[in-house]
């Protein structure tokens, strides 16, 4: 879907990205992570030509992006940013409709798409359609921001630290939404963050950057199981490294057939092991019942299997 070939980016004397080679496949949830100055935002902005690369080639859907007019390219790529940037003088629906309107969609198609997106982002249409951005909370604004980015059904969604300014609870629920939206729409998402937990939670592939170069690109699980070097290890953290390991594995992978166990606060098969461990500690037990959403018992999880 997106391919960086030998990309360098210099601003005057300073080199921000050096010899980057990276391919992002269709349907991937690719999270770029690094400390500030690592070049992650620059890499993201090169995809929609907000920043032009100095040398090399960036291909998008099999065309070098410089052969596509910036406006045309950007209308095919959703864009959501930390400061949201909703247009304050437009209602929520007008904000969401921006790109479809630019593309000249018929009014009834735009209308239908607005309804669909408000639903997808869990925004009550009755309440929010005619509201202005300043009447919304930060979390609601970012939901509208994501809806606007998705409005014209773009091939790719770029997100630049979209949840960085939100409180932990709101961020948590929006992360859950993103996972769901990615699963439902199958969009290719390129996401920039400096929060490793966010990266591990959302990504199908994490790209760790330092000094404008890729240090390691791997699935969260591979990253945790085989960090490439000390830099990656430091990035993954020391104290709760074990917990991060647990957070990328599910209960279903470690559970045994159902036997007598504490049923209260049962976990779901698709929950991660970190959550299951937390429940066991809270319930002071060494085994816990695994049930489906409908309440059917499907297995038992033992503490010894969690730490295996």
């Amino acid at each position: 879907m997106i391919e960086f070939r030998n990309i360098c980016k210099t601003f005057g004397e300073t080199t921000v990205v050096r010899d980057l080679n990276l391919t992002i496949d269709r349907g991937e949830f690719c999270v770029l992570i690094g400390s500030s100055g690592s070049g992650k935002s620059t890499i993201l902005k090169m995809i929609n030509r907000l920043v032009e690369h100095t040398t090399g080639e960036i291909r998008f859907a099999d065309a070098e992006i410089r052969t596509i007019a910036p406006e045309v390219l950007r209308r095919r790529i959703g864009y959501a940013i930390q400061s949201v940037g909703l247009f304050p003088h437009w209602t929520v629906e007008a904000n969401i409709a921006t790109v479809p309107r630019l593309l000249g969609w018929a009014p009834d198609r735009i209308e239908a798409r607005i309804a669909e997106l408000l639903h997808l982002l869990n925004l009550d249409a009755e309440r929010f359609r005619k509201s202005y951005p300043h009447q919304l909370s930060g979390g609601q604004q970012q939901r509208v921001g994501v809806a606007r980015a998705l409005a014209a059904d773009p091939d790719v969604l770029l997100m630049d630290e979209p949840f960085g300014a939100l409180d932990p609870i709101t961020r948590d629920s929006l992360q859950a939404e993103m996972t769901r939206i990615h699963a439902e729409t199958g969009k290719t998402i390129v996401f920039v963050t400096h929060d490793i937990d966010e990266a591990l939670r959302l990504a199908s592939r994490v790209v760790i950057l330092d000094n404008g170069q890729v240090v390691q690109a791997a699935s969260p699980r591979d990253l945790l199981n085989a960090p490439a070097n000390d830099f990656v290890r430091a990035f993954l953290g020391k104290d709760d490294y074990g917990l991060k390991l647990l957070s990328v594995e599910t209960v279903a992978e470690r559970m045994r057939p159902a036997i007598e166990a504490v049923g209260e606060g049962a976990v779901l098969p698709e929950d991660n092991l970190r959550l299951a461990l937390s429940r066991m500690v809270a319930l002071k037990c060494d085994r816990i019942a695994v049930s489906t959403m409908q309440g059917a018992r499907v297995g038992t999880l033992f503490l010894s299997d969690v730490v295996r």
Partner: protein, 243 residues
């Protein structure tokens, strides 16, 4: 709604003043018994109001085209170098009293409508340029980045995002410009332009206090009504903020 009503009331009161004034000779005769002709009758008051408004409107239109145009230009990448120049010119211009501009225009252009028009337009440009620049500068950078990032062309960004968001501040500049020019247009009668200043100037020359009162009443009334109109317009532009 109250702003609409106040504006409507202002227009009605001003209209009544305009209708009553031609029949007020007995009143002014009583107030100023020493005067032979207590009522200004060289031109009708309605014609003077129209001429005054026409002068101010024509000058303001030119000032807006030039002022907003220059403000847009110096806030674009291509015009950045001219920013300082425009700001310096505008600051310098503000220190000039409008009367001086008027006086300077006469030797260049002569007497009549045109020197008044040029002087008013020139002077009116300054607050409009200043406010256009600060209005456009004040647009939330996040909104600008988003507009660019989702694929608006530079012209679409300007027309749909930047100008509408800067509009209240630009309007405030236009309002200042118009307010100054309604006053200056009265003085423009000294260079031979027909305006509500005509009775005032003639009254001053001929020691006719009644003429001065009549002219001053209408100029101040006009200034108040026009200002109410701007108030109404400002409320309309900022509607999204208070909902």
């Amino acid at each position: 709604m109250t702003m609409h009503m106040r504006f409507a009331a202002g227009i009605v009161v001003f209209g009544m003043l305009l209708l009553a004034l031609p029949h007020s000779a007995p009143l002014f005769a009583a107030l100023f018994p020493a005067l032979d002709r207590p009522l200004y009758q060289q031109q009708s008051f309605a014609a003077l109001v129209l001429a005054h408004l026409g002068l101010v409107a024509a000058a303001t239109v030119l000032a807006m085209v030039v002022g907003i145009g220059a403000g847009i230009f110096v806030t674009r990448r291509q015009g950045q170098e001219f920013r300082r120049l425009i700001e310096t010119l505008s600051a310098m211009g503000q220190t000039f009293p409008p009367v001086a501009v008027l006086a300077l225009a006469v030797p260049v252009i002569g007497f009549g409508f045109w020197p008044a028009f040029i002087a008013l337009a020139l002077y009116g440009v300054l607050p409009i340029v200043e406010n256009t620049v600060s209005g456009l500068e004040g647009v939330d950078p996040a909104a600008k980045e988003a507009a660019e990032g989702i694929g608006m062309t530079p012209l679409q960004r300007l027309g749909q995002i930047e100008l509408p968001l800067a509009a209240p501040i630009i309007l405030a500049g236009v309002r200042t410009s118009v307010t100054i020019n309604i006053g200056t247009a009265a003085i423009a009668s000294t260079v031979g332009a027909v305006s509500l200043g005509s009775p005032i100037i003639i009254g001053l020359n001929g020691n006719n206090t009644a003429y001065i009162v009549q002219g001053a009443l209408l100029v101040s009334g006009l200034a108040i009504v026009v200002d109410m109109g701007f108030n109404l317009l400002a409320g309309q532009l900022g509607r999204w903020k208070v909902r």
